[in-house]
């Protein structure tokens, strides 16, 4: 049914497909292939050793753990932000809307330094948190803060259009048919928002995993404790250990890919399930 040679209503399919494949190859696949080829320079046992030494394993746990936490936080609060921006009219709404994009635009090093300045023990917030026993800068918590900061726009910007498409009439209809507030949320709002929310979650997660610039300033970079995987890759490069760095990167890439694939599957499952309901 979807064979390439079948005539189509919309012209230009072959040109655009050719361009898409070429473009993706040049921009994404070729560099990634180079990464795999570099890593393949190591034998299997060397690869395994480089990619799974205790310090590297500790960094995987830290990086994926903090990125996951940040993505969860972003999904909850990003949803609330999107909801507020879409559903309510209030003065300064446009301004607030623009502020959401700031983490996109700032150089990550700037965000990192700014966050560290705010949360370190003599910073604006840090000085009040410290007496309460809450250390943010130079702990995994600081890493979560940085990842949450840079990941927020992804959730807001993906959920916003879904909420905008949601018609108020549908909710009113649900209410008039006797649905409670919770039933409306669960069976009317959620089905159209959850897929978008999952996309935002996945993007925020992926951004957190790959983040370097803002995290290195706030993490403190202590081996085994607050050392993210990207930093280990840089420190391997600093020793001119290209193959070792590629091995860790390949491992990270595979895990990230598996996670993103899983999220996509859940998303598809969720969409199908809710479609059955509607």
């Amino acid at each position: 049914m979807t064979s390439i040679s079948r005539p189509r209503v919309l012209p230009g399919f072959s040109l655009t497909l050719g361009y898409t494949v070429l473009y993706l190859s040049l921009i994404v696949l070729v560099p990634l292939a180079a990464l795999f080829i570099k890593a393949a320079g190591l034998g299997w046992s060397e690869f395994w050793q480089a990619a799974t030494s205790p310090r590297v394993l500790a960094s995987y746990r830290l990086t994926f753990g903090t990125a996951l936490a940040a993505a969860v936080i972003n999904s909850i609060f990003g949803f609330i932000v999107a909801w507020t921006l879409v559903r309510y009219q209030f003065p300064g709404r446009k301004l607030l809307d623009a502020i959401v994009d700031l983490p996109f635009a700032l150089p990550t090093a700037v965000s990192g330094i700014a966050l560290t300045a705010v949360y370190s023990q003599n910073g604006w917030l840090g000085q009040y948190l410290e007496p309460l026993g809450v250390k943010v800068a130079f702990t995994p918590l600081g890493i979560i803060v940085a990842m949450t900061f840079i990941g927020l726009p992804f959730v807001v910007r993906t959920v916003q259009p879904a909420l905008e498409d949601l018609e108020r009439e549908a909710e009113e209809a649900a209410a008039s048919l006797g649905a409670s507030r919770w039933q409306t949320i669960l069976w009317v709002i959620a089905p159209s928002v959850v897929p978008a929310l999952l996309t935002g979650f996945a993007l925020s997660l992926a951004r957190g995993i790959g983040e370097y610039g803002s995290v290195v300033f706030i993490s403190g970079n202590m081996p085994m404790r607050t050392e993210i995987t990207s930093l280990l890759i840089i420190s391997k490069l600093e020793q001119y250990d290209y193959a070792g760095a590629a091995a860790v990167a390949v491992m990270m890439l595979l895990v990230s890919f598996a996670m993103l694939l899983l999220i996509n599957l859940i998303q598809r499952y969720a969409a199908r399930r809710y479609q059955g309901v509607l």
Partner: protein, 347 residues
């Protein structure tokens, strides 16, 4: 429609190839003798202020000598990053980096220069040197005088990560050299000393400027290990009245080397001017400027005595004598699974 598909793809390829080709044919306009010439000096971070003044001085010197206009382009960044850029093909004429190890790697991996490059210029190709000193809070409240004060319980030491910062390897090696002297060469005790010292480090920034910020701006830590030139610069620019320098009894001789990348310079027709550029670092004027910008000149008689007064006399050992050279130091201490890693894995 398979034919149409491939035609379309071809068109796309052709378009991209056309776009992609354009920039490669420009930017090779370097004149030989007579015309203007550009020189690319790839350096590390803390030399920014020094080279911006030195380059102006050399440009007018070269104009007087030969009548030729020379434009010097400066690139600064972390030393390891800069060396990797050269290895990956950045066409530098000269490199002026923090440690010989990085230039060794360029020589071995690219063959742009002979592996015995370090013997080509006087003083192991180091026209200026530095050392590792301590920066402490005003009035030195914790009474830090020497290396053994750094391992006391409750002292917080700030240093960049030697795995990601070339310059920070000197910090580590300086402490190691001190401990070896103290323990009469008993390596087990020296390892314990180094382990204690790094247990006192609450934050390992990835680079030297990051550590300076952590110490000066964030107010974290009791002592910052820093290159002497960075420490003097920090006092001048950031924290006059907040911080002061403590010079330990013994430290390491920090030797930032300079060299010409022969093959690049030959290909670009800049070999003569590149050699003259580095020779000029050893001239009275070059030595004076180095001292002005907080590096210790090899020939102090050319420097302003007021500049020289900033440098405290101390015993300095070399990486060559104490560790058998950078390759050896790197292999034993900083490579994955080396002594530095074991500090954090024996917890």
């Amino acid at each position: 429609m398979p034919l149409k598909l491939s035609l379309a793809s071809l068109a796309a390829v052709a378009l991209l190839a056309f776009v992609g080709c354009k920039p490669s044919s420009t930017s090779d306009a370097t004149g030989g003798q007579g015309g203007a010439v550009t020189l690319l000096n790839v350096s590390y971070d803390p030399t920014r202020e020094f080279y911006s003044e030195f380059n102006r001085s050399f440009t007018s010197h070269w104009k007087e000598e030969t009548g030729q206009d020379v434009t010097i382009e400066q690139s600064h960044g972390g030393a390891g990053k800069q060396a990797r850029a050269v290895i990956d093909g950045l066409k530098a004429d000269v490199v002026t980096l923090a440690i010989g190890y990085d230039i060794d790697e360029i020589a071995q991996r690219t063959g742009l220069l002979p592996t015995d490059w370090q013997s080509r210029l006087p003083h192991q190709s180091c026209p200026y040197t530095s050392t590792i000193v301590f920066l402490v809070r005003k009035g030195n409240p914790k009474g830090i005088r020497d290396w053994n004060d750094l391992v006391a319980p409750g002292i917080e030491v700030i240093t960049p990560n030697p795995k990601t910062s070339g310059g920070a390897r000197y910090n580590y090696l300086a402490a190691w050299g001190y401990a070896q002297r103290q323990n009469g060469g008993n390596e087990q005790q020296t390892r314990e000393f180094i382990t204690k010292l790094f247990r006192n480090v609450p934050v390992l920034d990835s680079g030297a400027r990051g550590s300076t910020t952590t110490f000066v701006q964030r107010g974290i830590g009791d002592v910052l290990l820093a290159w002497e030139n960075e420490a003097l610069l920090a006092i001048d620019e950031l924290g006059a009245g907040q911080i002061e320098i403590v010079v330990p009894s013994v430290s390491i001789l920090a030797e930032p080397p300079v060299t010409v990348l022969d093959k690049n310079a030959t290909a670009r027709g800049t070999l003569d001017v590149a050699n003259a550029y580095l020779q000029y670092l050893y001239s009275p004027e070059g030595q004076r400027l180095a001292a002005k910008h907080y590096y210790r000149p090899q020939e102090p008689e050319h420097a302003d005595p007021a500049d020289m007064a900033r440098f405290t006399k101390l015993e300095r050992f070399t990486v060559q004598d104490e560790f058998g050279g950078w390759q050896e130091a790197q292999r034993k201490h900083f490579a994955d699974g080396g002594v530095f890693d074991s500090i954090y894995q024996s917890k």
